[in-house]
C-alpha cells in the first residue's frame, strides 16, 4: 500500500556511550528535508518556466517542509514516516493541523517525480495495456485526466490511481491525496493550485493541463509505480 519514498523517514539511530560498559542505541528525531528536484530548475522549459520551479519548489514546497517540521518537533508524530503521518493526521476525515503540510510535502515530491524533461508522449507495455483496458483508449484517459484537472474548483490535484486492480482518474482538493484511501495507490499527479501555472499561463489552466499531459508526464516513473502497485 502506498509507494515507498526513500529519504522521508523521520528518525535515525546513533550509538551513544553511557556510564554502563555497553553502548546503547538511541533514537534521535531527525527533521524532514526538502527533497531536491529530480532535474534543474530550467529543465522543464519552455513548458514550465525556471521562475515557476524556483518559486514552486524553493518557496511553496520548502515552506510546507519547514512548517511540518515545526509542527511535529518533539512530538510522537516525528517518529513516523511521511506516509504514516499523512494517514494519522487525516484522522478519518477530521484532519489535524499537520495534515495540510504533510499532504502537500508528499504531493509535491510525487508531482516533481511525475514529470521529466522531454516527457509526455505515450506509455508502453503493461501500463499502456492497462490504460486501454480500463479507459477504453489512451485518448479517453487523457480526456478524463484533463477534465479532472480542469474541474477541480479552487486548489487541488488530479490523479491517476490504481484501485482494486483497475486504473482510474480522481481529483482532490487542497492537500488531500489518495494515501488516505486504503484501496488506492497513486501513480501520477498534476498540481492544479494556481501557483503551479500562474506565472506561465495565468488564468489559462487548460493550457497548462494540455502541456502537462502532452509534454511532461514521466511515463517511466508512472510505469514503475504501477509495477510496484500490482
Amino acid at each position: 500500500m502506498g509507494t515507498a519514498l526513500a529519504g522521508q523517514k523521520l528518525q535515525f539511530r546513533s550509538s551513544v556511550p553511557c556510564r554502563c560498559t555497553r553502548a546503547r542505541t538511541v533514537f534521535t528525531r531527525a527533521e524532514l528535508t526538502l527533497k531536491p528536484l529530480p532535474y534543474s530548475e530550467d529543465a522543464l522549459e519552455p513548458h514550465i518556466s525556471r521562475d515557476t520551479l524556483n518559486v514552486h519548489w524553493g518557496k511553496h514546497h520548502r515552506t510546507y517542509v519547514t512548517n511540518l517540521n515545526n509542527q511535529i518537533k518533539d512530538k510522537p508524530m516525528a517518529n513516523k514516516t511521511l506516509n504514516e503521518l499523512i494517514v494519522e493526521a487525516w484522522n478519518s476525515g477530521s484532519p489535524t493541523p499537520e495534515f495540510n503540510n504533510a499532504g502537500q510535502v508528499f504531493n509535491h515530491d510525487f508531482y516533481w517525480e511525475s514529470m521529466c524533461p522531454n516527457g509526455g508522449g505515450e506509455p508502453t507495455g503493461e501500463l499502456k495495456a492497462a490504460i486501454e483496458r480500463d479507459f477504453g483508449s489512451f485518448d479517453e484517459f487523457k480526456t478524463q485526466f484533463k477534465a479532472a484537472g480542469a474541474t477541480q474548483f479552487g486548489s487541488g490535484w488530479a490523479w491517476l490511481v490504481a484501485e482494486g486492480g483497475k486504473l482510474k482518474v480522481t481529483k482532490t482538493p487542497n492537500a488531500e491525496n489518495p494515501l488516505t484511501n486504503p484501496a488506492q495507490t497513486p501513480l501520477l499527479t498534476m498540481d492544479v493550485w494556481e501557483h503551479a501555472y500562474y506565472l506561465d499561463v495565468q488564468n489559462r489552466r487548460p493550457d497548462y493541463i494540455s502541456t502537462f499531459v502532452d509534454k511532461l508526464i514521466n511515463w517511466d516513473k508512472v510505469a514503475e509505480r504501477f509495477a510496484e502497485a500490482k
Partner: protein, 209 residues
C-alpha cells in the same frame, strides 16, 4: 435577464503599486468574467431564479430553493460573481482618502477593541485560509461584527453552507490569482499591501447603518 460583468470603478493601474495593473486586468476580464458567464449558463436552465437577484441566489445557495442540477454552479459562480463585485467596490486608489467611515470605525472599536486589533484578526483569517478563498468582515444577524474566512468562492451570504453567516462589509480575495504575478508565494505581503487600497470609506457606509 442575464448578469453582466460590472465595470471597475477605476482604471487597471489605479491600485498600483499595491495591486499591479496586469493582475487587475486578468482578474476582472478573465476570472470575474468567467464566473458571470458560468452563472448565466446555469441560470438559463431555470429562468425563474432570475427573480432572486445575485444576493438572493447566494442566500439560497445550498438550500432546496436551488435545483440540484445547478446547486454547485450557483454556489461557485454565483459566489464568484458576488464576491468579485464586492471586492472591486471596497478598494480605491492609494492616494484617495481611505479608511473606514466614522460609524464603521466606531463599530470596529466596539467589537474588536481597536482598528489595529481588527486588522490583526482579519489578516490572520486571510493568511491562514488554506488553499483558495476569502477573508471577510461581516455584520451578523444580531448586528455584531465578525471576522471570518470561506473556502473557494463561498461567501457569508450562503448561510446554509458557511459557519459564520452574515452580510459582508469587506472582502479580501486570497485565491493565488489575486496576487501571484506580483507577490508569488508571499500572501502576507499582498495582504499587508491591500490595506493601502482598502477599505474605501464610501463602500462601507451603507452597510453599517
Amino acid at each position: 435577464m442575464a448578469f453582466t460583468l460590472p465595470p471597475l470603478p477605476y482604471d487597471y493601474t489605479t491600485l498600483e503599486p499595491h495591486i499591479d495593473a496586469r493582475t487587475m486586468e486578468i482578474h476582472h476580464t478573465k476570472h470575474h468574467q468567467t464566473y458571470v458567464t458560468n452563472l448565466n449558463a446555469a441560470i438559463s436552465k431555470f429562468p425563474e431564479l432570475n427573480g432572486l437577484g445575485l444576493v438572493g441566489l447566494n442566500k439560497a445557495a445550498g438550500t432546496e430553493k436551488i435545483p440540484k442540477d445547478i446547486a454547485t454552479a450557483i454556489r461557485n459562480h454565483g459566489g464568484g460573481h458576488y464576491n468579485h463585485s464586492l471586492f472591486w467596490k471596497v478598494m480605491t486608489g492609494p492616494t484617495d482618502s481611505n479608511g473606514p467611515s466614522a460609524d464603521l470605525k466606531a463599530a470596529i472599536d466596539s467589537a474588536f477593541g481597536s482598528f489595529e486589533a481588527f486588522k490583526e484578526k482579519f489578516n490572520a483569517a486571510a493568511t491562514t485560509r488554506f488553499g483558495s478563498g476569502w477573508a471577510w468582515l461581516v455584520v451578523q444577524e444580531d448586528g455584531k461584527l465578525a471576522v471570518t474566512s470561506t473556502a473557494n468562492q463561498d461567501n457569508p451570504l450562503q448561510m446554509a453552507i458557511v459557519d459564520t453567516p452574515g452580510i459582508p462589509i469587506l472582502g479580501l480575495d486570497v485565491w493565488e490569482h489575486a496576487y501571484y504575478l506580483k507577490y508569488q508565494a508571499s500572501r502576507p505581503g499582498y495582504i499587508s499591501a491591500w490595506w493601502n487600497v482598502a477599505p474605501k470609506r464610501e463602500a462601507t457606509d451603507p452597510v453599517v447603518t
